[in-house]
Symmetry: C2
Subunit: 503 residues, 2 copies
């Protein structure tokens, strides 16, 4: 019927059709549809109008694609088998631990799209309220790997890099991949789209080159260039993960256990042997204290080790956004400025990328201890990282220029003084309300930094949007939240430096 | 468009329509629709076919009814305001307590249908994993009352009765109301439909008389007859509650805090001064141990007291289903048999109803301590309760005969011996798979009792269904679960008696 519902398979049937009557189906029933060898569990919406004939069923695009049917094909509709694995979720809500077998049942059913949004939500929240233990995290990671495809590579080390997120504009990945591949390392990087942020690495990279590559093409790109930056969801490295992320995005929630498994399942499936982990810490970042960062780091290192992956954690300053751009295209412009060392390039993004690349170089003994950052910075300075990045983009299908928004609106300082704080979550919210990540050009471009002096009337940031409705929507939120950027009389205390983990 | 989605308002718009483009709306966006003075937040499904013109929007029946529009009326569609209250849910998931103000925000948004199913699920699970404290339960109850209508009565006492559920066939309410009203008490009883069970009291009562009465009619019935048994959802006594129950039903979950507030908000709104609470305890009932029953009872009594309601808790035997029928009409037949003392009437249901009615009579000093059960039983024996019940049904709109299922299938004992256990949850599942409560005639009729001797080939229970599909679906589950009724060589140990609470 041409109805777009994202991943949600929906079937429309007449209330008075013989299938609804003989099977006792009612609206919102879950229905198993079968055609040829394919099947899908869909939500039934009954129709009491002449939109359909009594012997017709209408399908949403998701149901249509999964059933792989053509107009007029016969389909069979009946009650699906009871969702036995949901009993595990229910007992998890009330505090029981989940075994590997139970997790395989749950994640398998989610990957097969047997869970409705309600059931997926209950599973996700059950693991947030009452955190998973190490055994559960290990089992969940294992199960998520086993349900998908895996990549293997002839040599080693295979390097990977991950940031736990929560810091707008922290788009180091394309730069780190370019540096490490330029220096001869292998880094087959799969990234996700935004979960709760205005842009994921895959969203940003997509404004520069295609990212939805299949496994064969990823292998070709990496064999040829040593690295890639692709969307993990296009390959089935951890097929349940993107379905979970869709719901997490609505909830603006990701739980520690799910986060560990989501990150590591993709690293294991991608064949990584060494992993650099960026954990930004700040009062409005995802991780808010050094203690929380240390706890998460130890969990990630521990589980990664059980899968043979050596991990180096870099705790970084998460007190304010990184670079200037927040939103897919705006962040891509920052990436390009760092790689090309364009005058006025964001020095914080440059330093962060070199710090992470340097940690990787030292970990795999391609740089002496203490020299990694300098080796990485040299690869940018001599242009080799920029050259490598262009070659990677070409290999992925062709480099392109990131889009520019149709509408921009600056936000001015109401009074002069020092910038004392920037609320990461609220500024990210502005970027999302303006349309990011769905609209690649939308977002926010920051001018102010914590500790900087500003005069009244000076622009603090600019909102970028493609439509008037979205621009207004973001501006309404800005008006209602005067504390997004705080300006005070006194310069704030010392700011933490990268790598020290104070907050 | 005649699309039935239960409570879910849905709007269909063309992907290329100017509203989607200018507002930046995408599939599954939440959209605020306005027409005349009415508004509704709906989920957008985009349509890429010719089903709609570019300047048309199609509405599901729920959206149509809430907007109160006619074919061709203009509607305005835009982004809804951000759902600010969901931030409270998110912090609750991670362990923060909710204040009365925060709960009013959340429950108000739910009552206004601003929460999607995903968000409602997250709220419900957040209160299950990490139970609400007394302050939260009190505040939630208060808020749920304030958001709805209330009933007031000239005299007092106003009696009410509630069972926390979990025990199939435990349909005492119509009998208790008939007894107490026959004895001159006032009992304006509002009941819910099934949450996780094959029948709620409102579902059962509806097979005997109309239950969706408005406030004015309820007042008339109670003024005339002293009592009623109506569906609480038809009046706005606690308007968020039925929306929450819809999601709880999918999850097969109700949390203690939500349960306390759900029960008490309706009692407070109905103007109750005295409450008898039935808490069945058994290994497969909702409450499984006497300790859990005592904890729940103390919470309910404590919160009820804060609203001026005196409570008497009756902990009852929850080790097996009550009466013979499980399912709306099958339970109604049991109610009629008890009230009419038909030969072979279910004695357990009779005793339970008299016990609860007796507790109410003693609490309001209409029976001397220790004599309540006998006074209640006398009202059945002398026919006054049956007469009163018929008058109540007539006053509610006319008494009718409960339907009988088209198909029945007996399940026979595989071997002889004693019935040692009946799994309440599994037998309830059979009734639900057979179509209860949606199909009123569907369900299970029990023949076996724990402790009884059965011979091989003797029927243990009969499955009732209206369609072959549903009958088969229930029978498949029966085949896969041979332990629904256990038959062993030895009679089980002593069974707990009503009121003692052992399990």
């Amino acid at each position: 019927m041409g109805v777009l519902t994202l991943d949600d398979p929906i079937v429309f049937m007449r209330t008075d059709c013989h299938v609804c009557r003989s099977e006792g189906l009612s609206s919102r029933s879950r229905v198993l549809l079968q055609s040829g060898g394919k099947s899908v569990v869909a939500t039934l919406y009954q129709v009491a109008s002449e939109m359909l004939d009594a012997d017709e069923a209408g399908l949403s695009e998701a149901a249509w694609d999964q059933l792989d049917v053509a107009e007029g094909d016969p389909i069979v509709a009946r009650h699906p088998n009871p969702l036995a694995s949901f009993a595990h979720v229910r007992s998890r809500i009330f505090g029981s631990r989940l075994s590997e077998v139970q997790l395989r049942d749950i994640i398998g059913d989610i990957a097969e799209r047997r869970y409705s949004a309600i059931e997926t939500t209950a599973y996700l929240v059950s693991g947030s309220s009452f955190p998973m233990d190490n055994q559960e995290m290990h089992a969940l990671t294992k199960v998520m790997v086993e349900l998908g495809d895996t990549l293997t590579w002839p040599g080693r080390p295979i390097v990977d890099k991950h940031c736990v997120g929560g810091l707008p504009g922290n788009r180091t990945t394309p730069i780190v991949v370019a540096i490490l591949a330029a220096l001869g390392l292998t880094i087959p990087k799969t990234s996700s789209r935004a979960i709760t942020s205005p842009a994921g690495t895959a969203d940003t990279m997509e404004t520069l080159a295609p990212v939805d590559l299949d496994l064969r093409t990823i292998r070709q790109v990496v064999e040829q260039e040593g690295g890639c930056v692709v969307w993990g969801g296009a390959v089935r490295l951890s097929p349940a993960d993107d379905l979970l992320i869709r719901v997490e995005r609505v909830l603006d929630l990701d739980s520690e256990g799910q986060l560990v498994a989501s990150v590591l399942s993709k690293k294991v499936a991608a064949g990584a042997t060494h992993l650099v982990l960026d954990i930004p810490v700040g009062p409005t970042a995802k991780i808010r204290t050094s203690a929380a960062a240390a706890a998460l780091a130890s969990k990630l290192e521990g589980i990664a080790g059980q899968f043979g992956i050596t991990t180096k954690v870099v705790v970084s300053d998460g007190s304010e956004p990184v670079g200037f751009g927040i939103g897919p295209a705006l962040e891509a412009h920052d990436v390009l400025a760092v790689l090309q060392l364009t005058p006025g390039y964001p020095t914080d993004l440059h330093l962060r990328a070199c710090t992470l690349a340097g940690a990787a170089l030292e970990m795999v003994e391609r740089a002496a201890p203490g020299t990694g950052v300098a080796v990485a910075a040299q690869a940018i300075a001599d242009g080799s990282a920029w050259l490598k990045f262009q070659r990677i983009c070409e290999a992925q299908g062709g480099m392109r220029a990131p889009p520019v928004a149709a509408l921009t609106q600056p936000q001015l300082a109401q009074s002069g003084g020092y910038v004392t704080a920037i609320d990461n979550r609220k500024i990210a919210r502005v970027a999302k309300l303006a349309g990011a990540p769905g609209i690649p050009a939308a977002g926010v471009r920051m001018f102010a930094r914590v500790g900087e002096k500003v005069s009244a009337g000076q622009p603090l940031y600019t909102v970028h949007a493609d439509t008037g409705g979205e621009l207004q929507y973001a501006l309404d939120y800005v008006s209602a939240n005067p504390d997004i950027i705080r300006v005070g009389d006194q310069r704030n205390g010392a700011r933490p430096t990268i790598g020290d983990g104070n907050d």
